[in-house]
């Protein structure tokens, strides 16, 4: 196409001032699901299909497109023991043939209908995204339905995808950022499903069978763990019928393994994983407040001030702007269903990793002890409320945001109350929550590279905590 360079040949052609990947992490991890468009401009309808499936709809008839986003509770924490990577495997198999259509036929049909369908897995959910032009809606929906209800999981397709997944894992094993993140989860959640690598390992992916995929599909693709949001050129009646058509024949109930609540191990640790790279990458983090904790929103604002707010954040100021130690340094709060964490990352030449982490610890400690200033808090609130609308300027973004809200158990009215909640946070709140949230003594650090003067320090007393103790 004629817009931005794309493809593998052009990887290094355009260089941005701020790491796009990091920015994405920051944006997508704003699981506040902050509805950004003024509520009055967006009429969110709650509907129930004739078959009883609930969904939210924003009608937008000015664009002849429909964006449908849906989620099944489950995700990769539902992978069977010893088979880490099943959920991820499924996400790559959903367009590899369904019903009577073999892989190639299915994919050509998708292209002919200009239909877009993709799946993604997180720790707690399996996400589906479907987009169609209004003109092709009926035919595209039939194709979607086929895939949701009758994926083929043909053996030759399984072997093909397996090779790709394994090749990806082999690459990931040499990517310091990915190794650091994986190491961090293994360290923080030892013994819990969250500790497992989401895409599995070469070993586990090699062992996944067709039956594993079929079994996962049967357990997870059900009606009672399904959330649906549609945005675009469709009426409530039409959407109700569409949803029944696509999902109505799925089992009524999902069959989920229980996943215990968990907190990252306490006590702090530092693990160094050697890799021959000129720049070390560190992932660091600790437990945070769950999504429904009354302090969550305040914690979110405190994180914004500390490391979440790009060039406005303290860590960026101290590590990059003042000292030129890193290109990218950030933190975010990620409230998963069974835990909540504040995680960050920094990448710097091997000689500077120890110094960079010292600065980060110091800034955390300072924030815990003194809290932010009134000016910091005002600036953060101003950004978070003012940038509200930016997460809502495309059909697809609206659908994602609303789906997040539904999953977290909020109603559409969250739209109207969200900014008020942020406005209501006082400096005293922020100071109290900063102290509650930021405990550098509990910081779990994983460094990948050859960081000068650093070695692993893992206290023997480290223990996994399997019940929520945080008040």
């Amino acid at each position: 196409m004629l817009s931005l360079p794309r493809g593998i040949a052009t990887v290094a052609r355009a260089v941005a001032r701020f790491n796009v990947a990091a920015a994405l992490v920051i944006l997508t991890s704003l699981s506040l699901s902050s509805l950004s468009r003024p509520a009055e401009a967006m009429n969110i309808k709650q509907i129930q299909s004739p078959g009883g499936i609930k969904a939210w709809l924003v009608e937008e008839h000015s664009v002849p497109l429909i964006s449908l986003k849906y989620a099944f509770d489950g995700g990769n924490s539902q992978d069977p023991k010893g088979k880490a990577g099943v959920a991820n495997f499924i996400t790559a198999m959903m367009d590899e043939g369904a019903g009577d259509l073999k892989s190639e036929d299915y994919q050509e049909r998708m292209e002919d209908l200009a239909m877009r369908m993709s799946y993604d897995d997180t720790k707690d959910s399996l996400y589906g995204s479907f987009e169609t032009l209004t003109a092709n809606r009926d035919k595209a929906v039939e194709l979607l339905k086929l895939s949701v209800q009758h994926p083929r999981f043909d053996q030759d397709a399984i072997e093909r995808i397996r090779k790709q997944l394994i090749a990806n894992l082999v690459y990931a094993a040499k990517d310091p950022g990915k190794v650091a993140m994986r190491g961090w989860y293994a360290q923080a959640f030892a013994g819990h499903p969250y500790a497992r690598p989401s895409a599995g390992t070469v070993d586990t992916v090699s062992k996944i069978t067709r039956d594993d995929l079929l079994d996962y599909h049967k357990r997870i693709f059900a009606r009672d763990n399904l959330k649906v949001v549609a945005v675009g050129d469709i009426t409530p009646d039409e959407l109700g019928k569409l949803i029944d058509n696509v999902f109505g024949a799925l089992p009524a109930k999902a069959d989920l393994f229980p996943v215990p609540k968990v907190e990252p191990v306490l006590g702090g640790s530092q693990r160094v994983i050697e890799m021959g790279v000129p720049q070390s990458v560190a992932v660091f983090g600790l437990g945070a407040m769950p999504r429904m904790d009354p302090d969550f929103m305040t914690a979110f604002v405190v994180n914004h001030i500390l490391g979440g707010g790009g060039f406005s954040a303290k860590l960026m100021e101290e590590v990059r702007e003042k000292r030129g130690l890193a290109y990218s340094v950030y933190t975010y709060i990620q409230p998963d269903r069974y835990t909540s964490i504040l995680v960050g990352s920094v990448a710097t030449k091997n000689a500077s990793m120890a110094e960079s982490l010292d600065i980060i610890r110091k800034e955390m400690k300072k924030m815990a002890e003194n809290g932010p200033t009134q000016a910091d808090l005002d600036a953060a609130k101003s950004y978070l409320t003012g940038s509200y609308a930016l997460r809502f300027d495309t059909n697809s973004k609206i659908a994602s945001q609303l789906l997040g809200l539904m999953q977290e158990g909020f109603g559409p009215d969250y739209v109207e109350t969200r900014n008020k909640k942020i406005e209501a946070i006082t400096l005293a709140d922020a100071k109290r929550v900063a102290a509650r949230l930021l405990k550098p003594e509990n910081l779990i650090v994983t460094v990948v590279g050859k960081p000068a003067g650093m070695k692993s320090v893992i206290p023997a007393a480290l223990r996994p905590v399997t019940a929520p103790t945080r008040g």
Partner: protein, 471 residues
Amino acid sequence: MRLVTSTKFTFLTLLALSMLALTPDAYATDSATRASEFKLENGMDVVVIPDHRAPVVTHMVWYKVGSADEVRGKSGIAHFLEHLMFKSTDKIPVGEFSKIVSRLGGQDNAFTGHDTTAYFQRVAKDRLGKMMEMEADRMVHLRLDEKEVLTERDVILEERRSRIDNNPSALLDEQMNAALYLNDPYGTPVIGWYHEMAQLTRQDALNFYKHYYAPNNAILVVSGDVTPDEVKKLAEATYGKIPANPEVSSVRKRPSEPPPIAARRLELKDPRAGNFSMQRYYLAPSYVTAKPGEAEALDLLMKIAGSGTTSRIYKKLVVESKLASSAGGDYSGSGLDGGTISLYAVAADGVPLPKVEAAIDDVLADIVKNGVTDAELARAKRSYLADYVYESDNQATLARRYGWNMAVGRTVAEIEGWPDAISKVTADEVKKAAGKYLNMRASVTGYLVPDESGVAQADDLPSPSPNGVLR
């Protein structure tokens, strides 16, 4: 159809949509445009792309200068200056630019390519005037402090480590471009060569800035909830006050390539490679340099040959012969000096790379000899036209589409005529383009080979500038 009565949806998108329904050949040209275009008195081009669905705007300024305009020996200065543009002006204190944008609820960033440098903010529509005021201010009033410059230089060196030096695929890409271009500055990486970046000075940045940053060398692009009249008024009051720089030429002339006479081959052995993989780049014309219809034919050629799971290369190498775990190709036609065709493949376990390469060459030879089928061509066209419609959902994507193309000298009519031009390409033209441009003499082929015994070449990189290490 009812869509025609829509006031919000753009005519152009409708056009693309209706083309999806018709056979491509039945489509007739229409001169309808979506974007409004005008020029300020000082020569600054302005493009406005209205989208009134959400009360936000994307504001971009594109300079018609990129890294390929750098003086030899100063590689990286275009991108370095882009970073320094966030430092300070007479009115804005050091580091405050992004913080002000953030306090106004906006997001900002910038990026540099070989041909263009762009700055942007996404913000609520009532803040547009302030953004334009600030952007106009730094177009001519940048202030650079020596110490700030040196600190930022360390940041771009870290950025280089993150993007290139920590990633063997990026290193191979860099080596391959250097080999592909014998004379054109596209052979030099946008971010710069490490040893030259480490020597860049404040004066280098200022020289570049003073010459190239001027209204008559820039394009203003605003998309979102705004009208051309509103933008015009604001633009005249801000950018309009800046005098043109008569020194900067509107003709962009770079050293051009001699006729290519030898296929080039490279092998990068790296312990971090993970898998055995190969890439190939060919010199090709771009939308700017191609004869009418040729770039479109190349887009379609590479869609059919190498894009996604329905492409010939994927089907042959991944599905049928199973020589590769993934494989594909692409055409990038966005450059001012020329474009590239690219191919890639990751070898399946134990398959030697020459065998993979030969299999790709067979696929290409078949297309050169026998062309593509009408069904393939029709599918590829539908796919591009659908992409075009889907992209219209996103104002930021639209702003980039217009900005990038105009920065390399294409017109609004050419940009908006793209769906039409694509639909007119014949199978014979695709075959001709394949025969003409899949020319080994104009190519470079690179192998990335895991080197389990070797020493990471990363260790041999020059030591970082003293400014970073000691603090």
